[in-house]
Amino acid sequence: MSAPRDAANGMAVWLICCLVLTLLLTAGSLVIGTSSIETSWHWLVVPDEQSAVVLWRIRLPRTVGAWCVGALLGLCGATAQGLFRNPLAEPYLLGTASGAAFGVALSLVAVDSTIGELAWAGRLGLTGAACLGAVAATTLTIALSRGVLQTTSLLLAGIVVASVLGAATSLILLTKPEIFRAMQTFLLGSTAFLGWSSVALLATVLGICLVPALVWSRGLDALTLGEDTARSLGLSLPTLRLALLGMMSLGTATTVGQVGVVMFVGLMAPHVVRETLSVNHRQLLIAAPLCGGALLQAADLICRWIIRPAELPVGAVTACVGGTYLVLLLWRRNRDA
């Protein structure tokens, strides 16, 4: 059989292309920015003192951080699509984004609130509030679906939690319009505030999340044949769901806490991989993070470059690019059908 070798070669070529693209995007991200310093390749090789500060303290952590966020979203998206056996599943499916937004809204209100009961929310900080909100929303989703036994119940509970928390956030914004601008930055996503501490956190979480994902990748393969077949193969579905939901919750909560809500990367990255490569889940869970990382780096580059010296929210760019890509995908599938 030569086909496995062909498949392995195809995967290797794909990974090399993706890594080369990532390196090019990283280099591009280092020389393009909103600061007034000279933008050239020479500057990158021989930076002066001011440029070195911009390079090492702003652009490099931002670029690496954006890659980590994209990688986490790609990983969580691929996991969600495998777990729910639904190509439209995405990392925010369990209400994490709405929960994080609600947490941030509460935190913003609490910062200059006179309501004593809300003082704890202010002390959490925006990142802590976002993470707490995301984890609370996932927990609520699992509780509403009475555990993790039924995929459909989980999906429906996720939709309910997202809707209710979204409505609650809107109500907060209605009563406290002064927090609207800060909330907007969060809801549209921004990589501008990523520093080395964020990068360290994101990289650690990415490493942690990769472990259960790869361990359970063959479980996700088995799940594609149906729940009965997967169980008959000795797979414990509750354990698999708990492990992977916990991983998704940790991953998305961390990304939302660091950069806000970045739409479509988690949905798009697995699709890009599947459209360009025939993969099982183990390969997908390696390729999708690489693809997600490159996608978010590209989006970050676009948002910094397109209206220089100002910049667009990265979430707006990913939504436009991701939406367009999925429409093209739909159009192509309809045409082929």
Binding site: W216, R218, T224, D228, S232, L235
Partner: protein, 260 residues
């Protein structure tokens, strides 16, 4: 003739969906080296019986025993090595044929273990037996329904379990391949001493089995040899209509009662 030992049995098994009772106090013994065909009208509970026997559907009462031990007492993976299951409808996946069949070996190596030395041989044996080796590297989404069914069947065979529970293994297959499957099930039972239990719609195919389990609406009509089933009129009782079975050169065939 030495009677084959019982490897799977159920006693007073009662299964339903919510308040709807599908099987009421069914007791059966399944011997090794025997092909048991489960027949009955649509909705009588053939698939439900198989799912309950596989431990995939909760029984509201009764007990199931696998290799002299309660089914629920077996650790998940140990049970998966002894009892292989083929669903009536399996998902269409982008995995290759060989990757799907390899899933049948998971319980042998565990989720973390790498490729075992005898896995490749078992996969090849199973795919050769079902005639699906040619599609080993093709995506399941790109093969026909019949080809896919043979890959699924190979996945169940690759487990190399002493008990095979197959829900409609001949679905989507053309007549020559249905015949191949019947030959394969007989070979598994008589050559490999596997206890094969299969739900089968086609009566003529089912009549090729060693023993018939005839299920009517809610009740088990009978469990015995084909001769016992025909002599007792079990099929007519189960389908609630006369079932005409003819003997053609030693093979029992169902003859539809159509107007000339």
């Amino acid at each position: 003739m030495v009677e084959a030992r019982t490897v799977l049995s159920c006693h007073d098994l009662t299964v339903g969906y919510g308040k709807r009772l599908v099987l009421d106090r069914v007791s059966l013994n399944f011997a090794a080296a025997t092909w048991h065909a489960v027949v009955g009208p649509n909705g009588c509970g053939k698939s439900t019986l198989l799912r309950a026997l596989a431990g995939l559907h909760h029984a509201s009462a009764g007990s199931i025993s696998l290799c002299d031990r309660p089914l629920s007492a077996w650790p998940r993976r140990a049970r998966a090595r002894r009892l292989a299951w083929l669903a009536q409808h399996a998902g269409v996946t982008d995995l290759t044929g060989a990757e799907v069949v390899r899933l049948g070996r998971l319980a042998h190596g565990g989720w973390l273990a790498g490729r075992q030395t005898d896995d490749d041989a078992a996969i090849r044996r199973a795919m050769m037996a079902t005639g699906s080796w040619d599609w080993a590297e093709r995506r399941l989404s790109s093969v026909s329904g019949g080809e896919r069914q043979r890959i699924y069947l190979a996945r169940a065979l690759a487990v190399e379990a002493p008990v095979l529970l197959l829900d409609e293994p001949t679905t989507h297959l053309d007549p020559p391949h249905q015949e191949d499957v019947v030959r394969l099930l007989r070979e598994q039972a008589h050559g490999c001493e596997v206890c094969v239990v299969s739900a089968i719609h086609d009566l003529s195919l089912a009549l090729a089995a060693d023993r018939l389990i005839v299920v009517g609406r809610r009740a088990l009509i009978g469990h015995g040899t084909v001769r016992e089933a025909l002599a007792g009129g079990w099929l007519s009782a189960a389908f609630e209509t006369p079932i005409d079975v003819v003997d053609y050169k030693g093979t029992h065939l169902w003859r539809p009662a159509l107007d000339p």
